[in-house]
């Protein structure tokens, strides 16, 4: 359901309210991967992420009778998943680091989900934009995001200072945002 036609989504919601399992399955199939990827940005554990997304869909079905017609599936799902992830860290105290993050920096931890762009909608745009920014910035950015290298490791591999890596990656991020500005708003 990339860039889901609002009319199609409206019809699906009306069917869902009426208890149509096929509409439910369509919504599930359209959003499942993107939502697992979204949950992964909080939990970093795949099983937990999938579990949270499945629980959210289960709840969506349980609530189907009380949904409003102008209901936004995407925003409901994103919000509930985010809340579940936050609850998980608050209650289970799985990772001390994350717990601290949530406590002290909740503003950094919580997305305004209304503006979040799903992976399937944004991925291609990012790939294209990466070709348009200075290659050394794109390279450092990829080494961190794709290959998982720390700043220090990137500095060693590229034979530059850590400060240079910091500059390149933050510049890459800034330029990507400029390229994608229209898309993100």
């Amino acid at each position: 359901m990339r860039k889901q036609d609002p009319l199609v989504e409206r019809v699906l919601v009306i069917k869902l309210i009426g208890g149509d399992k096929e509409a439910f399955s369509t919504i599930f199939s359209a959003y499942y991967r993107d939502l697992v990827m979204f949950a992964l940005s909080f939990t970093r554990e795949r099983d937990t992420a999938e579990e949270i997304v499945q629980e959210t869909f289960f709840k969506l079905w349980e609530d189907h009778e009380s949904l409003k017609i102008d209901f936004s599936v995407k925003s409901y799902l994103l919000k509930s998943i985010q809340n579940r992830c936050i609850d998980l860290f608050r209650h289970k105290k799985i990772r001390q680091i994350h717990l601290e993050e949530v406590k002290n920096n909740s503003v950094l931890f919580e997305y305004n989900t209304d503006n979040y762009i799903l992976r399937s909608e944004l991925e291609d745009q990012i790939k294209k934009s990466l070709l348009l920014i200075p290659p050394d910035c794109a390279e450092a950015f990829r080494m961190n995001r794709n290959d998982g290298y720390k700043y220090q490791e990137i500095a060693e591999k590229l034979n530059v200072s850590v400060r240079t890596v910091e500059n390149r990656i933050s510049k890459a991020l800034h330029l990507l945002q400029e390229h994608l500005k229209d898309y993100l708003n």
Binding site: K21, S25, F28, S29, Y32, R33, D34, V36, M37, F38, L40, S41, R44, R46, E50, Q54, F57, F58, W61, E62, N104, N105, V107, L108, Y111, N112, N115, Y116, I117, R119, S120, L122, E123, I126, F141, N144, R145, N146, G148, K150, Y151, E166, N167, I169, S170, K171, L173, H174, L176, Q177, L180, L184
Partner: protein, 354 residues
């Protein structure tokens, strides 16, 4: 060009997202993000890009269908148990059962049905060829299985329907329960009843399946229809519905229903039935292949009642009452040591070929 402050914030955001900030930088970032809505939005956008650009998990490896099935199963399990509750709540509301009585009732039910959380087990009963079997179901309903048929049924009924699966032919006497419809599913149709007596026949090798109603009322649906779907057809007593499995054509006729349910008492009743139908029935009951030679015999009609006669006796009776003769083909051994199905050939009396 970026101005210095912007560049500094970008640097801290990137470092924070990469998990490389110290606490001083984090504090700077938090106050910057909190200072305006547009700062928060900018930070959210960078984070969105940052997360999406990561390929720790390849989305293609996330299995949609498998997990959809998982969630749907969880949903249907849940709805079965909640319907169970709604059902009992309704009864309690209607009868205004006092709390104590309700407790006793509940205790009795849980005692009778076992733990509410466990799922019912399915049994499957077969009636071997040449035999009939009677089954008493958990709800008190009775089922007679005809020769070569099987019935799959739960050891107790849970949820909002009583559902059983039939291959072949069976006669049902269903205990009345208007809120819990009884459903018989075969490969070609589904019969919904509340408290009735009816016969369902759907042998795999038959061209037609049929439902015969003795008393009460039944609704007929396609095999995939749920109990709540609009019925394709309904039957009244003494009516018989015949479904052509090839064309899907339905016909309803009024008949002497005894003819179609007499098998349960060991009787084979034929009322003005062509020989082709008679031998089909006989071959099902006795598990033999009967071949009919010559077109002239096909439509020869019979009126007969057989009760506990053997195959040989039946064939002899057919022979003396009509212009036919028959031979039994010698059975050949099969490679696994068993013998092939008994075969009988029926041909016009006095035919020179035999």
């Amino acid at each position: 060009m970026l101005n210095n402050e912007e560049a500094d914030i970008d640097l801290i955001i990137a470092k924070y997202l990469a998990g490389e900030t110290d606490s001083e930088e984090e504090a700077t970032l938090v106050s910057w993000v909190e200072s305006s809505e547009s700062n928060k939005q900018y930070y959210d956008q960078l984070r969105n890009i940052w997360e999406v650009a990561s390929s720790k998990v390849n989305p293609v490896t996330i299995n949609i269908n498998e997990n959809l099935t998982k969630v749907l199963e969880k949903i249907s399990k849940r709805s079965m148990s909640s319907n169970f509750w709604i059902y009992w709540k309704r009864i309690a509301a209607v009868l205004l059962v006092p709390l104590l009585l309700g407790n006793i009732l509940w205790f009795y039910i849980s005692y009778k049905k076992g733990p509410a959380s466990s799922e019912p087990n399915y049994n499957e009963t077969y009636a071997a060829f040449g035999t009939r079997t009677a089954i008493k179901l958990a709800d008190g309903s009775s089922v007679w299985l005809n020769s070569g048929s099987s019935l799959k049924y739960p050891d107790r009924f849970k949820g909002r329907e009583r559902e059983v699966y039939l291959k072949g032919e069976a006669y049902f006497e269903v205990e009345s329960n208007p809120v819990l419809p009884f459903i018989v599913k075969t490969s070609s149709l589904a019969v919904r009843a509340t408290g009735t007596k009816f016969n369902v026949s759907d042998y795999t090798d038959d061209m037609n399946s049929s439902v015969t109603l003795v008393s009460g009322k039944v609704f007929i649906n396609g095999p995939d229809e749920t109990a709540t779907g609009n019925p394709v057809s309904e039957l009244f007593p003494s009516q018989r519905l015949i479904l052509s499995k090839q064309t899907g054509e339905l016909s309803i006729v009024k008949e002497d229903v005894n003819e179609y349910i007499s098998w349960k008492d060991g009787k084979l009743i034929f009322r003005n039935k062509p020989l082709s139908y008679v031998i089909k029935k006989i071959s099902q009951v006795f598990n033999v292949d009967i071949e009919l030679q010559g077109n002239t015999l096909q439509d020869y009609r019979y009126r007969a009642t057989f009760e506990d006669e053997s195959l040989t006796e039946i064939l002899k009776l057919l022979k003396v009452s009509s212009p036919i003769d028959y031979i039994e083909v010698k059975r050949n051994p099969l490679p696994d040591g068993t013998f092939e199905k008994k075969k009988i050939i029926i041909f016009p009396d006095g035919s020179p070929s035999y």
